[in-house]
Each structure stands twice: as structure tokens, then as C-alpha cells.
């Protein structure tokens, strides 16, 4: 049955149908508690892209989700399900703040590469360990990355509250980064974004989309990676070292996740605070599945989730009964339909297409 459908159905129509289904069910849930889902959607749309201010916030969330989505997508191309971008981004924050504070006071253009490299190193390390354990010790990467999220919370909690916190400060946070050193908000260059947190990291996210496309589909390394994802045995016979690939791909995935820290620690917050990732790493899972692992898809679904998160904030004012957790529910439904239940709509859609295109082809429509 696979391959009988036109390509555009697989690539575009089915994902869109699945997302529509997820939103439809979310709408029913909202309806079930006596709220108006259509009103909610219109508030969310105007609250997320209605003007420069809301768009600025939407793009700030989008930046996080692009990085986290790419992190999950990259690993998934190699057949690895990385559930740990949350922890990798958190630990990445340590590298970002260490880099920034070491050069505190210098111009941001000089420090940004240091922050990126610092974050990348720490994030890569945090993802490399589960990769190593999968490759060499056979412990499943899904469970180890989940556990590493928990471990990251404890490690960072300790470091922030007992080590990085300057004397005489009450709140649990590191020393602040100098305004000159901080990754500047786009609002500094254009009035359009007003006082919104979207910053130069957004441009970095766009670049990352192209880099990941190039890496996965235009290099030998990307080919080896996809080969591993499709068939590890065949990849091995083709002379690819699966163990090495798993470790490298996980580390790269951690690098992408850690860029969330550049956006938040280096840019928006300008300091290391507790739980700055705030679920962005988990959103990445939904973004990656919804975007089918392709940078274009990841960009579009990251934008959609950015709109949901910013729109959800606007919604909290207008319709306080719809809490922001509704977005986590939508996220769950999107993962469920696009990631795990893809066959559900595929079977009826395939049936329709078979009937439309070849009415004479004898009853081969089933599985």
C-alpha cells in the first residue's frame, strides 16, 4: 500500500489532516468544559500575530521551538528518539553563562560565538552520554534521555542556588550579563518589535534550518545518518560504524538543543535562572513530528506552536478558564496523530485515492 499514494499526499495532505484532527479534538475538549473554541482561536490568532508586539513574542517562542524541533528531528533521522532536549538545553545554559561571564563587558558580536560554542559543548556532552550508553552499553536512549532531564534539573538546581549565585542576591540566579554583552533584541534595530524578547538568536535559528537541511540531505554524513535510521543492519554492511554515528548524531542533537539556552540565557534573561527552558525542549518533539523531520516542516510547525504559546498568553487574560495547559494537550494530540497514529487517516485516504485514480484495479485496496 505504501507508495501507492501521490507524494504530495504523504508529504503535505496527511500531516495537515492529522494536525487538523488534533485541533478539532482539542476544540471538542474546550467545548466540553463550556467554552467557545472559535472565540478562543480568534483571540489566539490576534494575540499572536495581530501586531508587532505579539509577533515579537511569537517569534521568540518560535526560535526556541525551531532549535528543539531540529534537535529531535536530526536524531530521529538516525532512528534515535531524543526526548532530552529539555535537559540538554538546561545544561547548555551553563556553557552559555560561563562563556558570557568570562567575557562580560565586551561587545556582544565578539561574545556571541563564545556563548554558542560554550552552550554547544555542554549540550553536546549532555546528549553524548546517552548516545554513548546506547552505542556501547545498549541502554535505550529514550529512557536515558528522560532520566538525564531529571538529572539536569538537580545538577542545575545545585549549581544555580549554591555555586553561581552571587553573595547578597536573594533570588536564585547567576550574576547578570552586561547589557552590552547580551545578545541584542531585534527591537534594538527596528521599532516594529517594540519591547519584545525576540533577538538575534532568531536569525541563528533560520541559519540552523538551512544547515540541518544541508547536513542531512547534501552530505555523506547525512546519508550515513539516514541509512542508519532506515536500516541499521544494512548501514553496518555498507561500512558505516553505527556506534560512532549514534554518538556523533546525539552530540549534534544536543548542540541544537543547547541553542535554546543562547536565546534565553544569553539573550532574553541575560542571566542563568532556574528552569529557563520551561518545556520548550518537549515542544520540540511535537514540532519535529508535525514537521516530519524536514526543516521546512519544522519551521512551519515551530511557528504554529510559537503562535499557540503566545496566543495562549493572550487567551489567559480574555478567557481565564482556558489555562495554558490546553496547549500541552494540543501538543500531545499533535504528537499522537502525526507521530503514532499516522496509519489511522492514511488507510481511508488511500482508499479514496485508489477509488478515484484506478477504479479498474482489482480489489487490492486492503492491506
Amino acid at each position: 500500500m505504501r507508495g501507492q499514494l501521490p507524494r504530495w499526499v504523504d508529504v503535505a495532505l496527511l500531516p495537515v489532516l492529522n494536525v487538523v484532527l488534533a485541533f478539532f479534538i482539542a476544540g471538542l475538549i474546550v467545548l466540553a468544559v463550556g467554552q467557545d473554541p472559535l472565540k478562543a482561536i480568534s483571540i489566539m490568532i490576534s494575540g499572536s500575530i495581530g501586531d508587532g508586539y505579539s509577533l515579537g513574542y511569537t517569534l521568540y517562542y518560535t526560535t526556541d521551538f525551531i532549535f528543539a524541533g531540529l534537535a529531535v528531528a536530526l536524531a530521529f533521522h538516525a532512528g534515535l528518539f531524543n526526548i532530552g532536549p529539555e535537559g540538554q538545553a538546561y545544561i547548555g545554559g551553563l556553557g552559555v553563562i560561563l562563556g558570557a561571564l568570562a567575557l562580560n563587558g565586551m561587545h556582544w558580536a565578539l561574545v556571541l560565538p563564545v556563548m554558542i560554542v560554550g552552550g554547544a559543548l555542554f549540550g553536546a556532552l549532555w546528549a553524548f552520554i546517552p548516545g554513548y550508553l546506547q552505542a556501547k552499553r545498549g541502554s535505550h536512549v529514550v529512557i536515558t534521555t528522560i532520566l538525564f532531564n531529571f538529572i539536569a534539573v538537580s545538577v542545575m538546581g545545585y549549581l544555580i542556588t549554591r555555586v553561581l549565585k552571587p553573595a547578597g542576591v536573594n533570588s536564585d540566579e547567576s550574576a547578570p550579563i552586561d547589557p552590552l554583552t547580551r545578545v541584542p533584541a531585534l527591537a534594538q534595530f527596528t521599532d516594529f518589535f517594540k519591547h519584545t524578547p525576540v533577538n538575534v538568536t532568531f536569525i541563528l535559528a533560520i541559519v540552523a534550518l538551512f544547515v540541518v537541511y544541508w547536513l542531512v540531505w547534501r552530505t555523506k554524513f547525512g546519508f550515513a545518518m539516514r541509512a542508519l535510521g532506515h536500516n541499521p543492519t544494512a548501514a553496518n554492511y555498507a561500512g558505516i560504524s553505527n556506534e560512532k554515528m549514534i554518538m556523533i548524531v546525539m552530540a549534534l542533537s544536543g548542540v541544537l538543543a543547547a541553542m535554546v539556552a543562547v536565546n534565553n540565557v544569553g539573550g532574553v534573561q541575560g542571566r542563568l535562572i532556574l528552569n529557563f527552558v520551561n518545556g520548550a525542549g518537549f515542544v520540540g518533539i511535537a514540532v519535529a513530528f508535525m514537521g516530519r523531520g524536514h526543516p521546512i516542516g519544522v519551521a512551519l510547525s515551530a511557528l504554529l506552536f510559537g503562535m499557540l504559546y503566545q496566543g495562549g498568553q493572550a487567551l489567559a487574560f480574555e478567557m481565564p478558564d482556558i489555562k495554558k495547559e490546553m496547549i500541552v494537550t494540543i501538543q500531545a494530540l499533535v504528537i499522537l496523530f502525526t507521530g503514532a497514529m499516522g496509519e489511522m487517516l492514511r488507510i481511508p485516504v488511500a482508499g479514496i485515492f485508489n477509488r478515484l485514480s484506478a477504479p479498474s484495479s482489482s480489489g487490492e485496496g486492503g492491506r
Binding site: 526526548i83 545498549g138 538546581g157 495547559e325 500541552v328 501538543q331 499522537l336
Partner: protein, 392 residues
């Protein structure tokens, strides 16, 4: 003597904290033995904790809370089954989705229904399970007060009450007997903490959880169903060839999973606590999964591993604010003073406060080390995670 009491108290805490993990772990055992990976245990635990607290608050009875907890877990299992058995989807992704679904839906619905920021109303009286103590065991038996909403033909009510009374009688006499024996043990100073802190002082779900271990072992290794369950996880084709439905067996396993994890979730919100709080499962489902792997998918070892996690948890509560010197003394006491006294020169480190996070992180670090196979290698059921497709 004081240290003995402390130790028994910690062991009592161990038992209490191990229960939800143990129930989730046994639940996962059925599912994974049948070849279905269940990352969604965490979500099921959370969803059923929420359902239990809501139903118990609305209907006024803890037992109804348990019923709804199981129903919630069944609903989640049904989605998981649909995705992984019928649509042959990725089981890990489905499980992850269910975890998010539980995290989002519980807070959203809880807030929409009760307007308490995701918390459910505080439960009291018959809305929750209380620890069984010597006093409650020997309390006189009384008629069960039937709630208002029980559909009432008036003359039927006393009959229902009488029937409940008759059903309760044997339990009552059993309780009296247990109270008699344990009361005698508790009359001596060594036995007193043992009875009050370790053997008693737990609610009924705790005893069920521990009973579920030998029952699971018996079902798995001594019944025809258990044999088929193990076979379908190792080699579904053989089961199919023998004319037994693979889907049916796997759905049966998922039902048992839902019942056990549902009771585990109810334990969190209506037995251990008296309220549902957002994200109250707090990773226990994942810990259960790890315990399952470490126990190599066997019920007996699963009990031991869960008790070990419970012990670490209990220790964590005890060591909040403890100093290094205190830890040193404790180790010395447990292992019979074989550590040398801390030299005077290092007196400074004596007062070093052990970070809370260091103890919090222990179960997770330990799990990673276990999973890495440094302590025995775990081999999963062969067909686990693979959807089964009939060849035609």
C-alpha cells in the same frame, strides 16, 4: 534504641513511597511482557490520580475514586492499544504523547471544573483511604452510611445496608484477630515500632500492591494465560500460528496494566495525599519503567528494586539539611563503626550541608548506572516495541 526507631521509621516510609512505583512497575510488566513498550505509564499514573481525586470529591467515596482511576487508565490504554496494535504506530511516540496528554488535560480540566489552579478540592473522611492502625482494626463494626445519591427506594436501603454489613463481618473478625496478635507483639519495646511503623500504618492499597507481586508471579509463570503472554512478547508469530489472537492477548495485557497503574495513581491522590496536585506523579512512571528493566521483567526482583527506590526516596526526606558528619555517623552506625572518626583537622567539612539535589538525583543516577548494564545485562522481551503484522 532511638536509632532503631529511626531505622524502622525509614523502612515504613520506604514501603509507603515504593507503592506507586511498584504498582506502575507491575503494570508495565504485563504490557511489556506482551510486547508493548509503555513509556506512557507516567501519564497513566497522573491521569488516574486526577480521576480518582475528582470522582472521590464528587461522589464522596474513595472506592468510587479507584473505579474512575481505573477507567481513566483504561481510556489511556485504549488509545495506546489503538495506536500500537491496530495502527501499528510507534509505541514510544504514542507513550510520550499520552504523557503530555495527561500533563495537559489534568490541569486544564481540573482548573475548568474547580477553579483552583489545577488542584482538586481537599478530600476528607470516606473520600480517602486512611492508614490502618491497631485502633481501626479493633474498632467496633457499624452500619455503612449510604450516601444520598444512591438511588433510593426507601425500603431497599436497610437491605443494602444489611448486606454490606454481612459482607464486612468476616473482614471485621479477621481484623480483630490480626489486632490481637499484633497488639501482643506491640506490647514489647522492640516490637512496638515494628508493628506501628512498618507492619501497620499503611492504607489498604499498600497491602494490595504487595499482594499483587506473588499474584503476578503466579499468573505469569503458572497459568496458561501467563505462558501465552510471555510467548506473545517473545514470538508473536508462534502464538498466531497456534491459532491464538495476538491483538486479543495484547489488549488483555493492556487491561491488566490499566487496572494496576490506575490503582497506583489513586494511591497518590486519595491515599498517600488527600488532593490532586499538578504533575504529582513526578517521574514515578519513568522510575517504574527503569525498575522493570533492572528487574529483567520479573515480578520478584521488581519488588526489591522498587523497595530500593522507595528507600532512597525515604532517605532523601530524612537527609534534608543533614550535614556530612551526620551522614558519617549514620554509616558508622549501620555498618558497625568501621569508618575512622573524622580527624580534627577536617572539622570544617563536618558542617558541610549535603545538598538536597545530591540526594534527589540519586535514584536517577542509580537507574542510569543500572541501565548501562554495569550490574547485569537486561534483555527485553524479543518482540517488544514491534507491531505485529500478519503475513497474508
Amino acid at each position: 534504641m532511638e536509632q532503631y526507631v529511626t531505622l524502622v521509621q525509614i523502612l515504613g516510609g520506604t514501603v509507603r513511597l515504593a507503592v506507586p512505583v511498584l504498582l506502575a512497575c507491575l503494570a508495565g510488566l504485563y504490557s511489556e511482557r506482551s510486547g508493548i513498550v509503555d513509556i506512557g505509564l507516567e501519564g497513566k499514573l497522573l491521569a488516574s490520580a486526577f480521576a480518582a481525586a475528582v470522582a472521590s470529591a464528587v461522589f464522596g467515596y474513595a472506592w468510587i475514586g479507584i473505579l474512575f482511576a481505573i477507567l481513566a487508565a483504561l481510556a489511556f490504554s485504549a488509545i495506546h492499544g489503538l495506536a500500537s496494535i491496530n495502527f501499528r504506530g510507534n509505541q514510544t511516540i504514542s507513550g510520550v504523547a499520552l504523557n503530555f496528554l495527561a500533563a495537559g488535560l489534568t490541569v486544564f480540566l481540573g482548573n475548568a471544573w474547580f477553579h483552583r489552579g489545577g488542584f482538586t478540592p481537599q478530600l476528607n473522611g470516606p473520600q480517602r483511604f486512611f492508614p490502618i492502625t491497631l485502633d481501626t482494626l479493633s474498632a467496633p463494626l457499624d452500619y455503612v452510611a449510604l450516601p444520598e445519591w444512591v438511588p433510593g427506594i426507601d425500603w431497599l436501603r436497610p437491605i443494602v445496608q444489611f448486606l454490606l454489613y454481612v459482607i464486612e463481618l468476616p473482614f471485621y473478625w479477621f481484623g480483630r484477630l490480626v489486632a490481637l496478635v499484633l497488639g501482643w507483639v506491640a506490647s514489647n519495646p522492640i516490637g512496638e515500632p515494628l508493628v506501628n511503623q512498618l507492619l501497620l500504618g499503611h492504607n489498604i492499597i499498600t497491602y494490595f500492591a504487595f499482594l499483587a507481586v506473588p499474584i503476578t508471579a503466579w499468573v505469569l509463570f503458572r497459568t496458561r494465560f501467563g505462558l501465552r503472554l510471555r510467548a506473545v512478547g517473545e514470538n508473536p508469530k508462534a502464538i498466531d500460528t497456534a491459532g491464538i489472537s495476538v491483538s486479543r492477548l495484547r489488549y488483555q495485557a493492556l487491561i491488566i496494566t490499566a487496572v494496576l497503574v490506575g490503582i497506583g495513581g489513586a494511591y497518590l491522590s486519595i491515599a498517600q495525599n488527600a488532593v490532586f496536585t499538578p504533575n504529582m506523579s513526578n517521574g514515578r512512571g519513568y522510575v517504574a519503567l527503569a525498575a522493570l528493566i533492572f528487574a529483567k521483567w520479573r515480578p520478584g526482583p521488581a519488588l526489591l528494586v522498587c523497595l530500593m527506590f522507595g528507600f532512597l526516596d525515604a532517605l532523601q526526606i530524612r537527609t534534608q539539611g543533614a550535614t556530612l558528619a551526620g551522614l558519617w555517623d549514620a554509616i558508622n552506625w549501620i555498618f558497625g563503626s568501621w569508618l575512622p572518626a573524622i580527624p580534627a583537622a577536617l572539622a570544617g567539612i563536618k558542617t558541610y550541608e549535603i545538598p538536597v539535589q545530591a540526594v534527589q538525583v540519586l535514584p536517577y543516577v542509580l537507574t542510569v548506572i543500572l541501565l548501562a548494564g554495569f550490574i547485569g545485562r537486561a534483555v527485553a522481551p524479543k518482540a517488544s516495541g514491534l507491531p505485529y503484522t500478519k503475513d497474508r
